[in-house]
Symmetry: C2
Subunit: 442 residues, 2 copies
């Protein structure tokens, strides 16, 4: 792909309306474009990142046996009246009347609809557990949408739901998602910590937020630094192994300001282990038993008895993660972004110095592009006639983690190659491809 042919509308300066760095960067490099308050279009650069995040989220759901479905965005009010949340939800719910004057709404979450699907499909406890997820647009009519896609109105979210016969089974399901979330954020190259949380409008009595560290985060975090060393790589999808994992985390004090208690923090955490920083919520899991299944009559037959199923729900903000990764990875002082290679819009930027009347560097670029392509490495060539330092500055913002520069210093088979934020090396193309491939497979 040539940069000149791609739809990447770069702004010269930081947009003044953006207050946080993810919002600034996303507008600046043309990842998104606002269409109305809190509603955005995703342009190719932003779209590619979001799709890669979505795919990682999907693979980690599939890996623990969750089945993918897709519920519609527009729901009937009827099921929300059954659960009792129609009136409770307030003005954040976008309420709609269709042409027949039926009360509809744009789903802000899907506990009701999934319960309705379950109750009309599953009759016997033998079909349990059922773990279902979907990745779909949601709408919450925020009074003051701000911070770009971090607090917007239309957002893309993975929400999963579990259905079990007993509390014990349901806890097993909950713990599967707990592990699955840790794996997901790891693949996004984020340090995420699970924290006991309030359940809010979803309800229930067991809940964890997953928070990633970012200096600009919205939540204050108080924790024990040893929590970052908890190792889940050998955790198995078995009751005891998952329980041990939960315990490994829960033995460390770890709360957001909501639940912060200074005395407790100082009692439980040695001064040298205390971490007091900021973070961003990127996932939230809930166990709420029969809160929805009872009023909505979602039950299974168990030895002739009717048992209301025990449910949990599990959310990851897919579009929000794009912003969260920027908040965690973008050095806005030096204007240097570096995407984790797992979600980067391209693997490598090929940056030739282009002189009028001399197409040799562009030809070299094309050859390199084809070679990298043959190694399954996706590159973009900056074929514009900007000067080389302007190009490098631009790509430092775009955040593709590797830059291959074809300029004056290019000699024979050796190219200037740089991992963003590291020193420039002079390498042969084979070595460059092998470095990138190695990073991709990690």
């Amino acid at each position: 792909m040539y940069f000149s042919k791609s739809f990447i509308p770069i702004l010269k300066n930081n947009p003044t309306e953006a207050k946080i760095k993810s919002h600034q960067l996303m507008l600046r490099v043309g990842m998104i474009k606002q269409s109305s308050a809190g509603i955005y279009s995703w342009l190719p650069l932003g779209f590619k990142v979001m799709k890669k995040i979505e795919q990682i989220v999907r693979e980690e759901q599939d890996r623990v046996g969750v089945q993918e479905i897709l519920m519609p965005t527009i729901q009937s009010s009827e099921i929300w009246k059954e659960s009792g949340r129609y009136d409770d939800y307030g003005e954040e719910m976008l309420r709609i009347k269709d042409r027949q004057n039926r009360e509809m709404l744009y789903g802000p979450t899907n506990e009701e609809l999934i319960t309705e699907i379950f109750r009309s499909s599953i009759k016997s406890y033998k079909s349990l557990p059922q773990l279902l997820y979907h990745i779909q647009w949601k709408f919450r009519d925020e009074l003051r949408p701000r911070f770009g896609i971090m607090r917007c109105r239309e957002f893309y979210m993975k929400d999963a739901y579990s259905f079990d016969l007993t509390d014990e089974d349901a806890l097993f399901s909950y713990n599967k998602f707990f592990l699955s979330y840790l794996r997901t954020f790891k693949r996004l190259n984020l340090s995420a910590i699970p924290m006991a949380a309030d359940t809010g409008p979803i309800g229930g009595n067991l809940s964890h937020e997953f928070i990633i560290l970012a200096e600009t985060g919205e939540s204050k975090i108080y924790t024990d630094k040893r929590i970052f060393d908890v190792d889940y790589s050998s955790t198995l999808i078995q009751n005891s192994s998952l329980e041990k994992l939960r315990n490994d985390y829960e033995k460390f004090y770890s709360v957001t300001d909501e639940k912060f208690n200074k005395e407790e923090f100082e009692n439980k955490v040695l001064a040298e282990h205390r971490v007091n920083t900021k973070g961003i919520e990127v996932g939230h899991i809930f166990y709420f038993g029969d809160k929805y299944s009872r009023p909505m009559n979602a039950s299974v037959d168990f030895d002739g008895k009717k048992e209301f199923v025990k449910m949990g729900s599990y959310g990851i903000g897919v579009s929000r993660l794009v912003g969260a990764i920027i908040e965690a990875k973008y050095n806005d002082k030096d204007e240097i972004m570096k995407w984790p290679i797992s979600v980067s819009p391209y693997d490598c930027a090929i940056i030739p110095m282009i002189n009028k009347n001399d197409s040799s560097n562009l030809e070299k670029s094309n050859k390199i592009f084809e070679y990298l392509k043959s190694k399954n490495i996706d590159a973009i060539i900056d074929d514009t006639d900007e000067n080389i330092s302007a190009k490098i500055k631009k790509f430092n913002l775009i955040g593709i983690p590797y830059q291959l520069i074809i300029g004056k210093k290019t000699e024979g088979d050796f190219f200037e190659f740089k991992e963003v934020g590291s020193e420039t090396q002079k390498l042969k193309i084979e070595e460059i491809a092998s470095q990138i491939s190695k990073a991709k497979s990690n």
Copy 2:
């Protein structure tokens, strides 16, 4: 995957509310579930098919150089007032007031929003052409939604848009999509024919519908049977080659009842070539010049002059195609469905006869499953205790194109293997895998 663990809620009988065969089958085998009038949830079986169709559509867009973006579902009324369509669109547009009392709507199509994105991003003719697409949910508030997902309210669609400097360039873009659509439907194993069409509410003066043949189709078709032999396999993405392709089609009479003229049909088509059948629209492309760019002021600078860009739009109904394929492929008299392998929810059904107290057939199934998986063949095992003929009947409906039966007649290394609709063969597992792999790679 075990059938007993999958979320595939099968109905014993055809649902009486469904009037056409795709609607019947999709409800019967649990592909979809209605959540309110004209609004459906996609359960795992239906979801898998739709995702595979989506991916084929995406690959064929990418292949002709169209870039993927994603526009939101909710739009502001402002841009529709600019284009003049806000009042025209009538009650099919789902109109919404948000909490600030702003007039919003659920996008039924995206000409306005893409024009807005274009005009604020592209300034110079040097950045042309621009070809952009997205795959997103749309809403049309049909007065009488019916026929399941064939005429529903919330539907999934690929819509693409082209921006060019001149009519000639724009025609080149149009013809790229023309070819791309033929390739797309071919990969879905559908016989699609392009037909000159009216432009309707989109506007413009050049338009083609892509119609697939299906006896239950909504449109009558009058054409020359030689049109099915037009060969586009060697067409290149070049002006002259694409024009030749257009001519190759246009020399044959081919219209829907909208444009049918008996005399013309009989004059132009020899009796022995006449085809008079029914079809379903699965794609529609439009060229409309500056119909939107002029009122919305989307122009580029060309040698100091302001030129309104020439636009076209190009739609494929992704969710609709699921139903269209069923209409084309489902033999409802014998209750036998066969998905094209390119979009089938699974490649092969493993159907063991399961006796109580004898798990040997299930163990064989597991081994076969693992072997097929190692060959990149995705299978589902029917581990239920239904009798074998009930199982086969069920899988004839589900439509997975290959069945591997492990029953009484299984001897040694030879398994009963059947391509749905063909004779049973007795084959070794290696031969079975090789047949399926061959079909997949075609």
